[in-house]
């Protein structure tokens, strides 16, 4: 069964002015679409065909580079679109907020840690808020399309929030100013979805 490019829950212009419609459309249709079709091509007819994306990533060291890169790209963007929404932003509540405050001291300190992870990832990659197997929250980053579900990743656990810092995620609107893009991101974080992932992981 082939992987499918998911539809977005909102229009391409719904995250304006923080993320522009042109960036969203190219990012979704071309970049995410490209990872999806290349992942399918990489597993078609092999014994990996039919496995879930999580299964593929958990044992990715045994698979080809194409599965690692495109499987990561497929999963990461699926998550990215879900953890953003129009009319979102603000602060998390309830259990998630409590866990963030416990781990990072305050929501603002968490944001600062996350911003720093996103800004200092050299080259292409992702910044993550991860729930580790022991239930603790941790912030970190991974290169290229790697993610914390992969057995090859130093940062391990279940990602509950992710920010794409490949230049394609922000270059049309922010060019070299990655920190401005990171600041803007907080206005579209869908904390309900992040909390759902935190509670169900």
């Amino acid at each position: 069964m082939a992987f499918e490019l998911p539809k977005l829950d909102y229009a391409y212009d719904a995250l304006e002015p923080y993320i522009d419609a042109r960036t969203m459309e190219i990012h979704h249709t071309k970049h995410h679409g490209g990872y999806t079709s290349k992942l399918n091509a990489a597993i078609e007819g092999s014994d990996l065909d039919g496995k879930s994306i999580e299964e593929l990533l958990a044992n990715v060291s045994r698979h080809s580079t194409a599965v690692r890169n495109n499987g990561g790209g497929y999963y990461n963007h699926n998550l990215f679109w879900k953890v953003m929404a129009p009319d979102a932003g603000g602060k998390p509540e309830g259990e998630l907020l409590a866990a963030i405050e416990k781990e990072f001291g305050s929501f603002d300190q968490f944001k600062e840690t996350f911003n720093n992870a996103a800004a200092t990832r050299f080259g292409s990659g992702w910044a993550w808020l991860v729930k580790q197997n022991n239930g603790k929250l941790v912030v970190g980053s991974t290169p290229n399309q790697d993610n914390p579900l992969m057995d090859v990743s130093e940062l391990k656990g279940t990602p509950i929030l992710g920010l794409d810092v490949w230049e394609h995620a922000y270059y049309l609107k922010y060019q070299n100013k990655r920190p401005e893009y990171i600041d803007a991101f907080w206005n579209v974080v869908n904390w309900d979805e992040v909390a759902r992932r935190f509670e169900t992981t």
Binding site: I26, K30, H31, G34, T65, N69, F122, G123, S124, G125, P143, N144, Q145, W166, E167, H168, Y171, L172, Q175, N176
Partner: protein
């Protein structure tokens, strides 16, 4: 030693329509400049305070390596291009390319393939390897072949910032246009 941004050897609109003025303004004026500034902020008080870029590329790690190599890589990239580019190599370089790759066309195809398939940010390089033979290699992020004892002859920047304003996700289109800018007189002299 204070590092400075070398002058771009042509106007920012000189490579149009292949590489836009806007792209070069950001790429040279912002990205290249930022690597220079970062490096100048990083080296004071370290053993690289008075080092040249080549020493930094061969010996440094982490941020000093990343910024130092990116200063060198961009200078090398920009100075491989010119408004008189798009010609073909001649003389000893042409001969060496034929010997190593069969023909100039076959070389171009192989180099383009390397530049297209480098995953993430990085550089495609034509180098003289330790045996004096021409070779095509890929390097991620700030990677520079001098670190491994090879001599760079030509490079193509495939960080998305090098082409995204002009070509977005279409990296192969950028690489095709890159060939129209490569000045083989300059590259041949290096060789």
């Amino acid at each position: 030693m204070k590092f400075s941004l070398p002058q771009l050897p042509y106007a920012t609109d000189a490579l149009e329509p292949h590489i836009s003025k806007r792209t070069l303004e950001f790429h040279y004026g912002m990205h290249h400049q930022t690597y220079v500034n970062n490096l100048n902020n990083l080296v004071p008080g370290t053993k690289f305070e008075n080092a040249d870029l080549e020493t930094i590329i061969k010996e440094a790690d982490g941020s000093i390596y990343n910024n130092g190599a990116q200063v060198w890589n961009h200078t090398f990239y920009f100075s491989s291009l010119s408004p008189n580019g798009g010609n073909a190599p001649t003389g000893p370089l042409a001969q060496a390319i034929d010997e190593a790759f069969g023909s100039f066309g076959a070389f171009r195809e192989k180099f383009s393939q390397a530049a297209t398939t480098l995953f993430g940010s990085g550089w495609a390089w034509l180098v003289k390897n330790r045996n004096g033979k021409l070779e095509i290699i890929k390097e991620s992020n700030a990677g520079n072949p001098m670190r491994n004892g090879m001599i760079p002859i030509l490079t193509c920047d495939v960080w998305e910032h090098a082409y995204y304003l002009d070509y977005q996700n279409r990296r192969p289109d950028y690489i095709e246009e890159f060939w129209n800018c490569v000045d083989w007189d300059i590259v041949g002299k290096r060789f």
